[in-house]
Amino acid sequence: MRIPLLLTTLCLAAPPLPAQGPTDPATSPSAEDLSAGERLFESQCSRCHGVGGTGGVGPALTRPRLRRAPTDAALVQVILGGVPGTAMLGFWNLSENEAQQVAAYIRSLGRRPAEVIPGSAQSGEGLYRERGRCGDCHILQGQGAGWAPDLTEVGLRLSASQLRQSLVQPGAEQPIIPLPSVHGPYPAYLMVEATLRTGRVIKGTRVTEDDFTLVLRDADGRLHSLDKAGVRRIRKLFGESPMPSYAGVFTDAELDDLVAYLASLRGEP
C-alpha cells in the first residue's frame, strides 16, 4: 500500500540534479569533492587507516599504488564492498558519490611527495637477519618464527616514521593487529599480566580474550589458556611491548637501514 501524498511531497523536496552533468568525483574531483572526501575519511576511515591515511590497524594509504585497488573503480568498490576475509568492511552508509569523493582523497594522499628514507634497504636486510635476530620472533615471507606479527607486508601498513618508532620505542604505539573473532579493534599482542588466585603471575601477549577467557603467550612461546574465574587480577600493560628497543643496539644510520628495509616489504615477491 503506497502513500501517494507522502510520495508526492518527497519528490518535490528532491534537489535538482547537478548542472555540470554526471562527472565522476573519483577520477575528476573538484576541490569540494576532495574536501568532502577528507571529511568522510577522517570520520569513517581514520580509526583504522590513521589520520591522513598514515596507517594503523589498517594499511597506510599514502602511496601511489594500492595493491587491492589498482584502479579508481576498484578503490570505490573496496570502500563500498570491503575486502572479504579482512577487517575492511564495506561502508554501507556512504553513497556512491561519497565513496568516489573518499577515493579521490585517498588518491591525493598517494600523490604527496614520498617520505625520504635515507637508509640502505640492502644493509637493513643484513641487520634484520644477523645482528637484529628479528626472525627469532617475527615471520617474514614464510621465514622465521610466528611469535610476533608477520612482517611480510609491514611496509604497506606503517610509514617510515612509524617503523622507526616501533624499533626505538616498541611499546609506544598500540600493536597493529586486531584480535581474531572479537567484535571491534581490540589489539592483539597487548602485554597482559595475570595474577592467578594461586599467586602465580603469568605475563605475556594477548592471543584472545572474552568475558570468561584470557589466552596469553609468554616469553617462551607457551600458550596459557586462563579461566578468568581463576584469575585474581588482570593488568593490561599499555605502552609495554615484549620487543626490546633497538635504540642502543643500532646506530642511527643502522636504524635508517633497517627502516629502509622494512619499508620495502610490500608483500610482493
Partner: protein, 538 residues
C-alpha cells in the same frame, strides 16, 4: 496398537488442535510459562520466565539439547516464539521457520521473495521475530511488507505493502499482535522517511489506524519542526513495543530524526522523535508522549523495549513504564499519564549534567557534532540498544545489557534525495580496550545500580531473567552465560562459537525447562540433562 501409544497419539493430536493463541492467552501469557507467546514473553515487555527448574544450584549442568542452523547467513537476531510444541523464528532477510521444539526438526519454512533492488539504508536487512495470534503467524519483510502466514502450514494468508521500500522504508522488528490487530513499525530514518506506526486487522490485513510519529503542519507538535523538515523527519518505529490491556494503551519507542547528525534544517525539539508514545490501542490516537532526547543529533533512538511493571516510586505504588534509553539514562514514567517520575544514568556518559524535574536533559556545552569532530559518550549505538532488558518480579530488579563506548561525532552539509542516505555527518567510535560492556541490575524505582557484571566488549545481546533466580545473557565473543539474579555472580557459561546478537527466551518441553538463544548462524537450545527415570535434577 497399545493403549500407551494410542494415548500418546491422542496427546499429540490434542496439542495440535489447541494451537490457537487467543487474545486471552496473550493477556495472561505469564500463566503458561511452558510457552513464549510474544516477542518479550508477555505483552508488558518484561522478558521474564517464571520457569524455575534451572537454578543457581544446577545451572552448571546446562547443556545443548539441540541446535538449529539457519540457512540464510547474516546477523541472526531472532527472538523465537513458542506455542504448544512449535517454535516460530525468523532468519536474516525475514525467512520464517517453524520447528518441533522436542526434536528441533523443521515443520515448515517460508522463504521471503525479495526484490534485487531491496533498499536497506542504515541497517542490514535483519529480522527480529514474528508475532502469533489465533492460528496466524505475522512477519515483517525488509522491503516493508507485512505477511500473515497460516501457523500450521506456513501458507500465505495475506500480504500488505506497509510502505515504499524505494524511499527507504523497511521492517526489521517483530510485530505485536493482540485483540484482533497486529501492530507493526517501520525503519528508515537514515533515508529521511516520515515514520509511523500501523495497526492492521489481524484477519484481513486491512489498515485499522496509522499514527504518524512526525506531526504535519497544524497538528500538535508540528511547532517543533522548521519549514518542511517534518516531511523527512525520520522517527522510525523499528523495535517492538509493549501493551497494557487494562489501560488499553500501547507503548512504542520512536527513533532518531532526519537528517541524523545535522540538525540545522530542523530547529526545535523534533517531536515525537527519540520519544516514548502511548497510543490508544483501539484508535491509534496519542494519549501522551515523553521525549528522552529533544533535537537529537547523535542517533539516540528510543528504540528500546518499554518495560511495564508496578513499583513504589516516591512513596506511592503505581503502574510505571521504564526504559533504559540509548542516551545512557534510565527513566521511570507513570504508565497512565506519562509523567516523569525518576531517571539517572546507568553508564558513564558526558553529554548531560542530569535531568531536570520534568525529565528533560540538562545539556553540557559543546556536544553537537562538528566539522572536526566532537568526542562524546555514549557512541551512536548508545548505552544500550535494541537488545532487550529484563524485569524480574521475583527479584524486583531491572536488568540491562550496558554498552560503555565513546566516539567522535562529525557534521556535514546534507540534502535530501529520495531513497538515499540522509545523514549529514558521521561517527568514528573509540575502539580498543576502552570499549567495554556490562550486565547491570538496577533498582527499578530509582535506577541505582545494585550489581554489575563486566563484559569484555559492548554487548549486542539481550537478557532473560527467570523464576529460578537466574539472568541469562550473551556476548559478542560467543559466550552464553547465566548470572545469579540477586548478586550478579557468574554461575555458568558456554562458548557457542558465534557472536550472540539476539535475545534469549525460555520455554518448557516434556517437563524440562529450555533456554534458547541465537548465536552466529545457529539457534542453540539448552536444557538440563535427562537422567534415569526421566527426572531432571533439581
Amino acid at each position: 496398537m497399545s493403549t500407551r501409544l494410542l494415548a500418546a497419539l491422542m496427546l499429540v493430536a490434542t496439542t495440535g488442535l489447541s494451537a490457537q493463541v487467543t487474545d486471552a492467552r496473550l493477556r495472561s501469557a505469564r500463566t503458561e510459562p511452558s510457552n513464549w507467546l510474544t516477542y518479550s514473553g508477555d505483552l508488558g515487555g518484561q522478558r521474564y520466565s517464571p520457569l524455575s527448574q534451572i537454578t543457581p544450584g544446577n545451572v552448571r549442568s546446562l547443556r545443548p539439547a539441540w541446535i538449529y542452523q539457519a540457512l540464510e547467513p547474516g546477523p541472526f537476531q531472532t527472538s523465537p516464539i513458542v506455542v504448544d510444541g512449535v517454535m516460530y523464528l525468523t532468519e536474516f532477510r525475514g525467512h520464517v521457520v517453524a520447528l518441533d521444539v522436542r526434536s528441533g526438526r523443521v515443520l515448515w519454512r517460508y522463504q521471503q521473495a525479495l526484490p534485487p533492488t531491496l533498499l536497506a539504508l542504515g541497517f542490514a536487512p535483519t529480522n527480529r521475530g514474528v508475532a502469533v495470534l489465533d492460528s496466524t503467524v505475522y512477519v515483517g519483510a525488509p522491503d516493508a511488507r507485512l505477511i500473515a502466514l497460516d501457523a500450521r502450514s506456513g501458507a500465505v494468508r495475506w500480504i500488505v505493502q506497509v510502505a515504499d521500500n524505494a524511499l527507504g522504508y523497511a521492517i526489521t522488528g517483530a510485530p505485536l499482535a493482540f485483540g484482533d490487530v497486529v501492530v507493526v513499525g517501520v525503519s528508515g530514518a537514515e533515508a529521511g522517511i516520515r515514520g509511523f506506526l500501523d495497526a492492521y486487522d489481524a484477519r484481513t490485513g486491512a489498515l485499522r489506524w496509522r499514527f504518524h510519529t512526525i506531526p504535519a503542519p497544524g497538528e500538535p507538535g508540528s511547532e517543533t519542526w522548521g519549514g518542511d523538515s517534518w516531511k523527512t523527519g525520520g522517527g522510525s518505529t523499528w523495535l517492538t513495543g509493549s501493551y497494557d490491556p487494562s489501560l488499553g494503551l500501547l507503548y512504542w519507542g520512536v527513533g532518531n530524526p532526519g537528517p541524523l547528525w545535522n540538525g540545522d534544517s530542523r530547529p526545535g525539539d523534533n517531536l515525537y522523535t527519540c520519544s516514548l508514545i502511548a497510543l490508544d490501542a483501539a484508535t491509534g490516537t496519542l494519549r501522551w508522549h515523553f521525549q528522552y532526547t529533544p533535537h537529537d543529533t547523535h542517533d539516540w533512538d528510543a528504540a528500546q523495549v518499554p518495560v511495564l511493571f508496578d513499583a513504589r516510586v516516591g512513596g506511592v505504588q503505581r503502574p510505571v513504564v521504564a526504559m533504559a534509553n540509548r542516551n545512557g539514562f534510565y527513566y521511570v514514567l507513570d504508565r497512565k499519564t506519562g509523567a516523569f517520575l525518576t531517571g539517572r544514568p546507568y553508564i558513564e556518559q558526558d553529554w548531560a549534567e542530569g535531568l531536570d524535574a520534568t525529565g528533560r536533559p540538562i545539556l553540557r556545552p559543546n556536544i553537537e557534532p562538528t566539522d572536526s569532530g566532537t568526542a562524546l559518550t555514549p557512541n551512536l549505538h548508545g548505552g544500550t540498544n535494541w537488545l532487550s532488558p529484563s524485569y524480574s518480579p521475583a527479584t524486583s530488579l531491572f536488568y540491562v545489557a550496558a554498552r560503555q563506548m565513546g566516539s567522535r561525532y562529525y557534521k556535514y552539509p546534507v540534502s535530501y534525495t529520495p531513497g538515499r542516505y540522509f545523514l549529514g555527518g558521521g561517527e568514528s567510535e573509540f575502539g580498543g580496550d576502552s570499549a567495554q560492556g556490562a550486565v547491570k541490575a538496577l533498582d527499578p524505582a530509582t535506577g541505582r545500580e545494585r550489581w554489575s557484571f563486566p563484559l569484555f566488549s559492548p554487548p549486542w545481546a539481550g537478557l532473560l531473567s527467570t523464576g529460578g533466580g537466574l539472568v541469562f545473557g550473551g556476548s559478542n565473543e560467543g559466550q552464553f552465560f547465566a548470572l545469579d539474579a540477586r548478586t550478579g555472580r557468574p554461575l555458568w557459561h558456554f562458548q557457542t562459537g558465534g557472536m550472540i546478537n539476539a535475545n534469549p527466551i525460555a520455554f518448557s518441553e516434556g517437563g524440562r525447562q529450555h533456554v534458547a538463544v541465537a548465536a552466529g548462524n545457529a539457534l542453540v537450545v539448552f536444557a538440563l540433562p535427562e537422567v534415569a527415570g526421566g527426572v531432571t535434577p533439581r
